[in-house]
C-alpha cells in the first residue's frame, strides 16, 4: 500500500468484514494509519454527505479519541446532526469512510455498543419512564438491573412511574438519555443533550459525562451553546459542514488569544475568511 499522494485511496482502508477485532485492523492498517487512529473510537475519512442536492458535509476528516468527552460545537444547521447520524449508521452517505470502534459505522455488531440520543427526545410519551426503559432494555439485551442505575444517573428516580408526556421538556430529554445509557455502551453519541436544562442539572450531567469517560466510555456531545465547550476534553468546531477547529479548549484559547470559546470560534472563522479572500487575489 503506497500513500505517495498523501491521499488514502478508499480501497486501502476496506478491511474484510470478518476482521472485527480492531487490534487486528490496526496491525493491518499500520502502514497508512497514523498511530493515534488505532486508538481512536471514531475515525472519519473524507466523509461527504449531500442532502437534497445540497452538500452538508464536504469531505470531512477527523478522529474522536477513546475515553474522553469530545464536544461537537457550532451553529445550528452546521451539519452536527448529520454527522452524528452518520456515526450511528442512519445517515445515507455519499462517499467517504466512517469507522466506529474499529468497524464500519452502522454494522449490526455495533448496535449494542453505541448509544445514540437524538435532538428531540425519542421515547414514548404514552408510557411511563420505567416502561420505556424496560422496552429498550429488552431490545438492547441490557440487564433490567441497569434500569434503576440509569434512572438514578439522570436524576429521575422520583419519576420512574410517571408517564413521559406528563414530564417537562428537560425531563423528557433525560429519559431519552437514560435509554442511551442502557447496557453501558462504549460510545455515546449525544445530540444536544443539555438543551433546555437548568444550570444545576446541566452541571450534574456534565459531571456524569466525565464520570463515564473516566470509566472508559467515549462521548461525543453536540451543543450550540458555546459556554459548554470548556467542559469538554476536546473540541470540534463545525461550521457549514467544515471543521474549523480540532483542539482542546485550552489550546484553542491559547492559539487565538481569545478570552472565551465563543470569541475563539469567531477568531478562527475570521482568520479563515481572510485566508480565503487572499487566495484568488
Amino acid at each position: 500500500m503506497t500513500n505517495n499522494s498523501g491521499v488514502t485511496p478508499r480501497s486501502a482502508h476496506v478491511v474484510p468484514r470478518h476482521r472485527a477485532d480492531h487490534r487486528a485492523d490496526s496491525e493491518q492498517e499500520s502502514p497508512v494509519t497514523r498511530p493515534s487512529d488505532a486508538e481512536a473510537a471514531v475515525v472519519v475519512e473524507r466523509l461527504h454527505v449531500v442532502r437534497d442536492g445540497r452538500t452538508v458535509l464536504p469531505e470531512l476528516s477527523f478522529t474522536v479519541p477513546r475515553g474522553q468527552v469530545t464536544g461537537l460545537l457550532g451553529p445550528s444547521g452546521g451539519g452536527k446532526t448529520t454527522l452524528m447520524r452518520a456515526l450511528v449508521g442512519v445517515q445515507r452517505v455519499t462517499s467517504g469512510q466512517v469507522r466506529v470502534l474499529g468497524l464500519p459505522a452502522g454494522t449490526p455488531a455495533l448496535r449494542s455498543r453505541v448509544g445514540y440520543v437524538t435532538q428531540s427526545p425519542s421515547v414514548y410519551g404514552d408510557l411511563t419512564v420505567a416502561e420505556n426503559l424496560r422496552f429498550f432494555a429488552r431490545l438492547l439485551h441490557a440487564p433490567f438491573t441497569d434500569i434503576e442505575a440509569v434512572v438514578g444517573q439522570v436524576d429521575l428516580a422520583d419519576h420512574a412511574g410517571d408517564l413521559v408526556q406528563r414530564l417537562s421538556g428537560g425531563q423528557r430529554s433525560r429519559v431519552s438519555l437514560a435509554v442511551a445509557l442502557l447496557g453501558r455502551p462504549e460510545l455515546l453519541v449525544l445530540d444536544e443533550p443539555t438543551v433546555g436544562l437548568d444550570p444545576v442539572l446541566r452541571r450534574d450531567l456534565w459531571e456524569l459525562f466525565h464520570r463515564l469517560a473516566d470509566e472508559g466510555t467515549t462521548l461525543l456531545v453536540s451543543s450550540h451553546v458555546m459556554d459548554e465547550a470548556t467542559r469538554c476534553d476536546r473540541l470540534l468546531l463545525l461550521r457549514e459542514g467544515e471543521l474549523v477547529a480540532d483542539d482542546s479548549p485550552g489550546v484553542l484559547l491559547d492559539r487565538t488569544g481569545a478570552m472565551d470559546v465563543e470569541s475563539a470560534f469567531l477568531a478562527v472563522i475570521d482568520a479563515r475568511t481572510d485566508r480565503r479572500a487572499e487566495v484568488p487575489a
Binding site: R51, D52, V88, G89, V90, Q91, R92, V93, G106, P108, R111, S112, V114, Y116, T118, S120, P121, S122, V123, Y124, G125, D126, L127, E131, F135, F136, R138, L139, L140, H141, L163, V179
Partner: protein, 249 residues
Amino acid sequence: MRAPMAPAATLAVTTRVLNQLRRDHRTMAMLIVVPCVLLTLLWWMFDGDDQTFNRFGPPLLAMFPFIIMFLVTSVTTLRERSSGTLERLLTTPMGKADLLAGYALAFGAVAVLQAVVAVVLTVGLLGMDVRGPIWVLAVVAVLDAILGSALGLLVSAFAATEFQAVQFMPAFVLPQVLLCGLFVPRESLPDVLSVVSDVLPLSYAVDAMREVQTESSWTSGLSVDVGVIAGSGLVALALASATLRRRTA
C-alpha cells in the same frame, strides 16, 4: 449471520404496543364499541327484515375490522416514524421483522377481541343466520383485521403526516368496499371491474364470510379465500418491511 428475528424482541414490541393501547381508553373503546354500534344500527335499519340483514351482515363483519385496523395502524406507525422512535429502534440490535411482527401480533390480539365481540353480537343477539361453524367467522374477521394492519403499515411509509395517512383510507379502502360485492354481486360487475375486484383482498374477505354463512362445513372455496387473505397480509408485511430503511437521506 444474525437471525433476522428474535422472539424476545418481537414480544417486547407487542407488549409495548399493548401497554400503549391499554392506556388509550378512547381508542380501545373505538376499536371494540364502534363496530358493535354500526352492526346494531344496520340491524335496526332493516327493522324486522331478516333477509336483508343477513345479506349485509357478513360483508360488514369482514369490513369493519379491516377498515378500523387500517386506520389505527397507519396512524400509529406514522407516529413512530415522525417522533424519532423508529430511527432510534433501527439503531438497536432489533431486526425490522421483529418490529413488524411485534405490531402485527399486538393488533392481532386486539383484533381477536374485536372479532369475538362483534360475532357474538351479530349472531347471538341480532340473530344473523349462519350455517357454518361460528368460530370460522371470528377467524376470518381476525385475518381481515391483520390484513388491514399490514396494509396500514405499508401505506404509512408513503404518508408524511398523520393527516395524509388518514386520507389514504378513502384512497386504498373505499374502492375495495365498493367492489367487494356488497352493493353489486361481484359476478354482475362489468368485466373490467370484475377483474379488479378479483385482485382486491377485501373481496375474498367478503366471499369467505358469505361462504361461512351459506355452507355448513369448511369448503375448498373457503380455503382459497382464507389463503388469499393471509397471503395478501404477508405480502403487505414484506413490502412494509422493505420501506423501513435504516439509512435515510
